[in-house]
C-alpha cells in the first residue's frame, strides 16, 4: 500500500461519503488517481464495506446490542475457523474476533430486542458444536462508536473568534 492509499483510507474512515473529487482536492492529486487507488483497495479486499454509524438511542426504536465472550473446546487453528464460520453466518452477528486471553471468540450482536439476544445465545450459539461456554454482556449505553462521541454536548473549548 502506498502513501496515497494510506491517506485515502484515513479519509474514508473519517467519512466514507467524501467522494473522489473531494479526496482528490484534499490530497492534492487528480480524481482519476483517487478512483484508481480506491478501486485497487476494493479489489484487494482492503476496503471491504462502506457504512453509516448510527446512534440507536436517538431512533426511538427498541434495540438489543450485546458483546458475547465465547469459549470453545481447544482445537487446532482450523478448529477455531470452523466454529467462527458457524457463528458468523448469522445476520445478527455483526463481528466475530479471535481473541487472546481467558476466552476465545468475541462476538457483537445487534438484535431488535434484548430478548432476541437471549434467544440467540440459548438456542443458536450454545447449540453450536464446540462451544463450551458463553458470557453475554448487554450494551447499556454507547458513549463512543466508530470513533465518534455520541454525547450531545459540543460546547467549544475555544473562543469563537480570536486573533
Amino acid at each position: 500500500m502506498n502513501k496515497l492509499q494510506k491517506n485515502i483510507i484515513k479519509l474514508l474512515k473519517e467519512d466514507a461519503r467524501y467522494g473522489y473529487a473531494k479526496i482528490a482536492t484534499m490530497l492534492g492529486c487528480d480524481e482519476d488517481t483517487v478512483k484508481e487507488a480506491v478501486t485497487e483497495l476494493e479489489s484487494k479486499g482492503i476496503i471491504v464495506k462502506y457504512t453509516a454509524i448510527i446512534n440507536n438511542e436517538k431512533t426511538g426504536e427498541e434495540f438489543g446490542d450485546a458483546l458475547i465472550e465465547v469459549r470453545v473446546t481447544p482445537q487446532a487453528r482450523r478448529g477455531f475457523d470452523a466454529i467462527a464460520e458457524k457463528i458468523y453466518k448469522f445476520d445478527d452477528v455483526k463481528a466475530v474476533f479471535l481473541m487472546s486471553g481467558t476466552y476465545d471468540l468475541a462476538i457483537t450482536l445487534e438484535c431488535k430486542t434484548a430478548k432476541d439476544v437471549a434467544l440467540f445465545v440459548s438456542e443458536r450459539l450454545s447449540a453450536i458444536d464446540g462451544v463450551v461456554g458463553t458470557s453475554t454482556h448487554f450494551i447499556m449505553k454507547k458513549y463512543k462508536d466508530g470513533g465518534v462521541i455520541f454525547e450531545d454536548d459540543e460546547s467549544s473549548k475555544r473562543l469563537s473568534v480570536s486573533e
Binding site: 475555544r158 473562543l159 469563537s160 473568534v161 486573533e163
Partner: protein
C-alpha cells in the same frame, strides 16, 4: 471621578481590536458556525499535559530562572538548529517568554526610541501596531497585495525606508493572509535590511505550518543575518499550547540582554508549569521526529486545499496560501467590504468570518477565514457561504 486625566495618551489612543468587537457580536448569537478562530483545534498532546500535572504534583510551582529552565532552552536551541538550521547559544541567546506575544512586546520595547519608524507588512496581525505605539515609536504600514500573494517584495519595501527606520517586522507564515516568504524572497529582504542597516524582528510562530517542499526558512539562517535578526516563536501553534502562554526569543546576546532586562522586571519568568509542558513537547518531538507535528500539519494541509478550492469555485478569488491556517479571499467581485460581508453573513447565514479591515486598511475588501476546524464544520460553513455568495450575486444583477 475624572479618569481622563489619569489615563495616558498612548493607552487612550490605542483602538480596541477589531476582532474583539466582532467577537462580542458573534457571542450574542446562538448557533453560529465560526470560522474566526486564531488557534489550533487540536488539544495539547497528553504527554505534555501529564508532564505539567506531574510538575504540579511534585511542587515545581516556583519561579524559574528569568531566562527559563535551562533544559527548555537547550531543547529550543536544538530544535531551531535541527528544524531551521539556526545556531543559538542556550545560555546567552535564548529567552523564554510568556507567549510569543510577550516576545513581540519585549523586542519592541528594547529597540524602539521616540521618532523611530518600524515597518510592518500590512495586512498584519493586530498586535504589532499597538505594541510599536506603546513602545514610543511610529508604525509604518508596508502595503502588500494579493497580486504578489501578500509577500513582502523588497522593491516595494525600499519605498518605505527612511533614515528613521529602525526595524522591520517580518511575520511569516502570516496571520491573516496565510502568506509565506520562501528563501528567494527572504534573500532580497535581507539585502535591503543590510543595505539600510535595519533590524529584522521575525515572528515565526506559524513556522511549522508551512505547506510546501522547502519548508519554513528563517531569515536568521541566511548569511550575515543572524546578527541583525530577533527571532520570535513559541509553542502555541506548533504544539497546540495557546493557553499555556509559552514562547521564546532568539537573538544575538546584546539584543537579548536588553530584552532580558525588561522581562526580568516585568514578567520575571514564563509560567513554570508551561515550561515543563514545553520540555515534554520538544522531547516527544525529538523522539518521534516530530511526526505528531507533521501529522497535524498534514491535516491542515488537506483542509487548506479543500477550502481554497471551494472559495474559488464560488467565485471568491483567493490565492493559495502556503502557511498558517488562514485563507484571505477577496470580495471585490461582490463589490462589498469585508465588514459588510462579514456582518451580513453572520446575520443571514450564522457564519462568522473576520473582516480583513481588522488587520489594516489593506484588508478592507477581504475577509479572513480560518480552517482550524473539522472537515464537517468546514463543509457546512462553506456551503452556507456559497449560498450567501450566490444570493449576493443575484442581488447585484
Amino acid at each position: 471621578m475624572n479618569y481622563e486625566k489619569f489615563i495616558n495618551e498612548r493607552a487612550k489612543n490605542i483602538k480596541p481590536s477589531g476582532i474583539r468587537k466582532f467577537f462580542e457580536i458573534v457571542e450574542q448569537r446562538k448557533d453560529v458556525i465560526s470560522l474566526g478562530v486564531g488557534e489550533p483545534d487540536f488539544d495539547t498532546p497528553w504527554g505534555s499535559r501529564e508532564a505539567a500535572v506531574r510538575s504540579i504534583r511534585k511542587g515545581m510551582t516556583h519561579y524559574t530562572s528569568n531566562y527559563g529552565l535551562l533544559q527548555l532552552r537547550e531543547l529550543i536551541s536544538e530544535y531551531y538548529k535541527k528544524r531551521y538550521n539556526c545556531d543559538y547559544d542556550c545560555k546567552s541567546e535564548i529567552l523564554t517568554t510568556t507567549g510569543a506575544s510577550e516576545a513581540i512586546d519585549l523586542a519592541l520595547r528594547a529597540v524602539c526610541e521616540n521618532g523611530d519608524e518600524i515597518l510592518i507588512p500590512e495586512p498584519s496581525y493586530v498586535s504589532y501596531c499597538p505594541c510599536v505605539v506603546l513602545a514610543g515609536a511610529n508604525p509604518v504600514a508596508v502595503k502588500c497585495n494579493a497580486e504578489t500573494e501578500f509577500k513582502l517584495v523588497a522593491d516595494e519595501l525600499e519605498k518605505y525606508i527612511t533614515d528613521k527606520t529602525k526595524a522591520l517586522i517580518l511575520p511569516y507564515p502570516n496571520n491573516p493572509t496565510g502568506a509565506i516568504m520562501e528563501r528567494k524572497y527572504l534573500e532580497k529582504v535581507a539585502e535591503t535590511a543590510i543595505k539600510h542597516d535595519i533590524l529584522i524582528i521575525s515572528d515565526e510562530i506559524y513556522s511549522e505550518l508551512t505547506y510546501n517542499e522547502e519548508g519554513h526558512t528563517s531569515i536568521a539562517s541566511l548569511p550575515n543575518m543572524k546578527e541583525r535578526t530577533i527571532v520570535i516563536n513559541g509553542f502555541s501553534k506548533a504544539f497546540a499550547m495557546t493557553g499555556w502562554r509559552l514562547g521564546y526569543v532568539l537573538a544575538p546576546k546584546e539584543l537579548l540582554h536588553a530584552m532580558y532586562k525588561i522581562h526580568q522586571y516585568t514578567m520575571l519568568c514564563a509560567p513554570t508549569i508551561s515550561q515543563y509542558a514545553g520540555i515534554e513537547s520538544l522531547k516527544q518531538g525529538f523522539e518521534d521526529d516530530f511526526t505528531s507535528v507533521t501529522e497535524m500539519r498534514d491535516q491542515y494541509d488537506m483542509r487548506r486545499r479543500f477550502v481554497v478550492k471551494e472559495l474559488n469555485s464560488m467565485g471568491l478569488k483567493c490565492f493559495t496560501p502556503r502557511g498558517a491556517f488562514y485563507v484571505f479571499p477577496c470580495l471585490s467581485s461582490l463589490g462589498m467590504t469585508g465588514e459588510e460581508f462579514a456582518s451580513r453573513l453572520l446575520e443571514e447565514e450564522c457564519v462568522a468570518v473576520v473582516p480583513g479591515s481588522a488587520f489594516g486598511e489593506s484588508g478592507e475588501y477581504f475577509v479572513r477565514i480560518s480552517y482550524a476546524y473539522s472537515m464537517k464544520n468546514l463543509e457546512i460553513a462553506l456551503q452556507k457561504i456559497a449560498d450567501f455568495v450566490k444570493k449576493i450575486k443575484s442581488e447585484i444583477k
